[in-house]
């Protein structure tokens, strides 16, 4: 019982009091002038008073080694918010919180966003680990999620009502790539590599299985330690098995180094075959001449009008071209834009001047997304929340440019 103890207790008390006041009692539903839809809704209504904004939450890594993903995707989302304009005089706002890409951060951010009654939907999360920890928290209060990039297959298998994603599922892309390698390119000896992440590994396994089932030989299946700067040693080991092509599941940061190092390690004649994580302007810049002939899967269809408009807006707002920070810039735009469109569809202007957004209806609206035209394709969500219905688009580098492969 000394002075420090009292200071300590006082400190905790202050923190308790400080933290208590705002968050108590969220989701006041069906009171007073609220429309009838709110009373019947499973999760009640979000009430937006005049002067407040309609908030779209986002959990993304904004610090640490993967910060470029979070910053880029949230910037893409901000353009969508600007484009969305107003709804009955209410502005939209994107609240991007830092979840460091980890489960711990994901749960913290989810709990924080849930505490804010004006958050109506979640654009995210970005990484699968953070998403997995966040889903149960959103599930409880009925916040619909639309993730731009969490590709881990089991996420959609957990039977969640709120989780949806527009990221390619590994299965479709992997099968497509494996078949293309065997049938179109006539490859018989394939080396498969991944970066050890859930995303890269999932893809690599499906490509391996598809390729073997078609009758090809996977001469080597290996993994690298992600985020290193030199992969000549693992590539030299792969080269000893003399593959005709190298499939890589992972992101540009590693993929570009691999494509470069291949030319130094006896894989000069093997084809580098990437995935949607290795597509983008960045890959071109970093590989230069070494990249020629490499394949990737594109997230972004040919330059549509809306995409050209977005690219210009993004560069004007942030000073860099979309796609330089991560391959998911356009997905970031799409998820926020799609969520806002659904919010607009279900929102009800109350007679008291407040805006009411029935949460349960919004959850259903997002799950029932149909033929939504985004920058990166057409989205129609299935019963599990897989929304990217457009097929993968295969691209290859010719003369330093990505072109659609036959």
């Amino acid at each position: 019982m000394n002075k420090r103890f009292f200071v300590f207790v006082a400190l905790i008390l202050v923190m308790v009091i400080a933290s208590c006041s705002p968050s108590a009692g969220s989701n006041p539903s069906g009171a007073g002038a609220a429309p009838a839809e709110c009373a019947s809704d499973a999760f009640g209504c979000a009430k937006i008073a005049p002067g407040q904004t309609i908030k779209i939450g986002m959990g993304a890594p904004m610090t640490g080694g993967d910060a470029s993903f979070g910053i880029d995707i949230s910037q893409g989302g901000r353009i969508a918010v600007t484009d969305a304009g107003e709804l009955e005089g209410f502005k939209f706002e994107l609240i991007a919180e830092d979840d460091s890409g980890t489960a711990e951060g994901g749960a913290a951010v989810a709990n924080k966003l849930v505490a804010d009654p004006t958050v109506v939907a979640i654009a995210g999360h970005i990484f699968s680990g953070a998403t997995a920890a966040a889903i149960p928290i959103y599930e409880k209060v009925g916040l619909p999620m639309l993730s731009p990039s969490a590709t881990n297959p089991p996420l959609a298998e957990m039977g969640s009502k709120v989780f949806n994603r527009i990221a390619f599922t590994d299965a479709i892309q992997g099968k497509f790539a494996g078949t293309y390698l065997y049938e179109k390119l006539g490859i018989r000896k394939l080396a498969v590599m991944h970066d050890g992440s859930d995303y890269g590994k999932g893809l690599a396994e499906i490509v391996r299985d598809t390729f073997t089932s078609l009758g090809g030989e996977v001469v080597s299946f290996s993994a690298i330690t992600s985020k290193e700067s030199d992969y000549t040693a693992p590539l030299a080991a792969v080269a000893a098995t003399q593959p005709e092509a190298l499939y890589f599941g992972g992101y540009t940061q590693d993929g570009a180094i691999l494509a470069n190092n291949m030319k130094q390690t006896g894989l000069e004649n093997a084809i580098f075959f990437g995935c949607d994580g290795t597509y983008g302007q960045d890959f071109l810049d970093r590989t230069g001449a070494n990249g020629n002939g490499a394949y990737a899967v594109s997230l972004t269809p040919a330059d549509t009008d809306s995409k050209v408009k977005f690219d210009a807006a993004y560069e004007a707002a942030f000073g860099v071209k979309p796609g330089t920070l991560s391959p998911y810039t356009w997905n970031g735009y799409d998820v926020v834009a799609a969520l806002i469109a659904q919010v607009k569809a279900v929102a009800i202007k109350g007679s008291d001047g407040n805006l009411y957004i029935p949460r349960g209806a919004l959850v259903n609206a997002v799950r029932n997304l149909k033929d939504y035209q985004g920058l990166t394709g057409v989205f129609t969500c299935d019963a599990k929340g897989e929304c990217n219905a457009s097929g993968p688009l295969l691209v290859t580098i010719q003369d330093g440019k990505w072109v659609v492969a036959e």
């Binding site: 610090t63 700067s229 040693a233 470069n260």
Partner: protein, 368 residues
């Protein structure tokens, strides 16, 4: 408590020695079997592949060694782990990057080639300037780091500077991210030193490429190490550093300005890290704010492997670690994903039998 009481510890030294020996024998036998398998049964790799592994290992090992020397110098003098050393290296990489970018933007047209820029017109000078800028930036960072984050903790408990260093490391990473954006940038090399070009050597019927950037890095790191050795052994500064490392109080009594020597140590270790950073950029081609983290950890490991506080130990440790990382997984027939496992296992093995590292002085306990 009770569970442990039943185990006899009457002769702990003996028990420990038996355990050590058993572990050692098991691991060595297992490794030998794996290596035999890879080399003679599977014959997975030809000589050319082994040479490739070796080259990769030496190049990266040289850079590890340079960074490890920084850890070792600081440890020798202050007895602290400079956890922010990887970030100092990253600052050096950025220093070189901006100089190269600037030089590439300066036009130096000739009649034959009107599009020529300064970088390609004067590649040697440009590279020299880049190294100069990188080492200067990193030395300055090292100096500031010591002055701001470590000097006030000179007489604090032993682990306080470690935490201060961790804080500084987090700060520097985020500062660079916020200043220059989290974007991954490409290092601009002069065309003469383009990555992926080099001499082709024919070994066992296939062409093995020895890149210019790799040779440059390796030769430069060896030169810098020799230079450092001379500096520490033959010059006045070096003598003062060794004196301070031995005994700060006595050195001060002999007229050595201890604070100045410590500052110099940080400047030197920063310069080496900066040089390693520019090499890293030129050879590997990427620069971003998180770049220093992995080399920092690896070099720290290398410094301990060689015997922390011991300069030749750091050099040896760096090279050994580089080689183990590139050759180890292949020799044991294991996926390269597990190369860190192998590197750390080797470290554990070495330390079990030589608790002070490969070249470290015998610890107190060993003398007993």
């Amino acid at each position: 408590m009770t569970a442990l009481s039943s185990v006899s510890f009457k002769t702990p030294q003996l028990v420990a020695r038996i355990i050590r020996s058993v572990i050692g024998i098991i691991v060595v036998v297992w490794a030998a079997m794996r290596i035999y398998n890879v080399l003679f049964v599977n014959q997975a790799y030809g000589l050319d592949t082994w040479v490739r592994f070796g080259i990769t290992g030496l190049i990266i090992g040289g850079m590890y060694a340079l960074i490890a020397i920084g850890y070792t110098l600081v440890y020798g003098i202050l007895g602290m782990i400079n956890f922010a050393h990887g970030e100092v290296m990253m600052i050096g990489t950025f220093g070189g990057y901006f100089v190269l970018e600037a030089l590439a933007a300066i036009p130096a047209p000739t009649l034959a080639n009107p599009d020529l820029n300064f970088l390609n017109a004067q590649p040697l000078l440009s590279i020299l300037l880049a190294f100069l800028a990188g080492t200067l930036a990193a030395s300055l960072m090292g100096y500031l780091l010591e002055k701001i984050a470590y000097r006030p903790l000179r007489n604090a408990p032993r682990l306080a500077p470690l935490i201060s260093a961790i804080g500084a490391s987090i700060f520097l990473q985020n500062a660079v991210q916020l200043l220059f954006s989290p974007q991954l940038r490409d290092y601009t090399n002069p065309d003469a030193l383009a990555r992926g070009t080099g001499w082709s050597i024919e070994i066992a019927g296939s062409q093995v490429l020895v890149t210019y950037t790799g040779v440059l890095s390796f030769v430069l790191s060896i030169l810098l190490m020799v230079g450092l050795y001379v500096l520490v052994q033959k010059t006045r500064i070096g003598r003062a550093m060794r004196a301070v490392a031995q005994d700060k109080k006595t050195a001060a009594l002999m007229g050595v300005d201890v604070d100045a020597v410590i500052s110099q140590t940080f400047i030197i270790s920063g310069a080496l890290a900066g040089a390693a950073g520019v090499m890293w950029g030129i050879h590997n081609g990427l620069v971003y704010y998180f770049l220093g983290f992995i080399p920092g950890i690896k070099a720290f490991t290398a410094a301990v492997l060689g015997g922390i506080g011991n300069i030749p130990g750091a050099m040896l440790g760096g090279l050994v670690l580089g080689l183990v990382e590139s050759i180890g997984p292949a020799a044991l027939g294991i996926d390269f994903q597990l190369k860190d496992v192998i590197a750390f296992l080797i470290l554990v093995l070495v330390l079990i039998f030589r608790p002070s590292g490969l070249l470290g002085a015998a610890s107190v306990e060993e003398k007993l």
